[in-house]
Amino acid sequence: MFDFLMYLKVFLIGGTICMLGQILVITTKMTSARILVTFLLLGVILECVGAFEPMKEFAGSGVTVPIMGFGYTLAKGAIIAGEQEGLLGVFVGGLKAAAGGIAVAVTMAFLVSLFFSSKTKK
């Protein structure tokens, strides 16, 4: 059940992807919103060319936890729903697949802000 070779791969690949992000931060002075968008689009493109599935097979959460995985979920949702339901599926599928993540992110942000306030940095 607990596959330690897999864990090693997840750690190494996930870490490397984050390190690529850090290289972008250092060399281009990109801000966090740009980094997120860049990796998201990377995930969409990788899914379009069919490269994401094998990567996911190989490294599991190492590629799905980075925001690329979110792009992959969106793209895969739109592609599959499009193939099954046609044009309507293209519009509905992406967000449907990613709905869980977005809904929880929004709800948690809302709840957390009810209980906490921003604190100054020391």
Partner: protein
């Protein structure tokens, strides 16, 4: 023209003066924290798979939901920004960074009121992610639909 030359020279000079920080420590920080977050996600998924009748797809969705929730709570406690200052992209690139970028403006702007503060400003950083993601997914779907 003279002014242009001066400005160009000054900017070149300025770039040469900017303190050069060694990239290796920050790359390493991003690597191990980012890797650890991914690993944590994988462990969650494996634990979820122990639940009877749990499909791989659902486990993956739960995995990201749990990571998002944890990051959101850590943001509330003021821990995530400290982690981010250490790890840089190591905490931006994982899905937890997306969660942080939604929760942090919500916290920051809640003092401007419920609707125009908290709700309206929630997406000032992560908005582009959703906009670009939705458009890109539609484009991807259309490409597959047509070809």
């Amino acid at each position: 023209m003279e002014v242009f030359e001066r400005d160009k020279k000054y900017n070149e000079y300025l770039n040469s003066k900017i303190p050069k920080t060694k990239p290796w420590p920050s790359l390493f920080h991003a690597f191990w924290i980012g890797g650890l977050i991914c690993l944590f996600g994988e462990v969650i998924k494996d634990l979820l798979m122990l639940i009877p009748n749990m499909s791989v797809e659902n486990a993956s969705v739960w995995e990201s939901i749990i990571l998002i929730a944890i990051a959101s709570i850590l943001t509330g406690f003021g821990v995530y920004d400290k982690l981010g200052a250490y790890a840089g992209a190591g905490t931006i690139v994982p899905i937890t960074g997306f969660s942080n970028s939604i929760t942090s403006p919500a916290l920051e702007f809640k003092r401007e009121g419920f609707i125009f503060g908290l709700c309206a400003k929630m997406f000032i950083i992560s908005g582009p992610v959703i906009v670009c993601g939705v458009i890109a997914s539609i484009v991807a779907g259309l490409i597959y639909l047509i070809f």
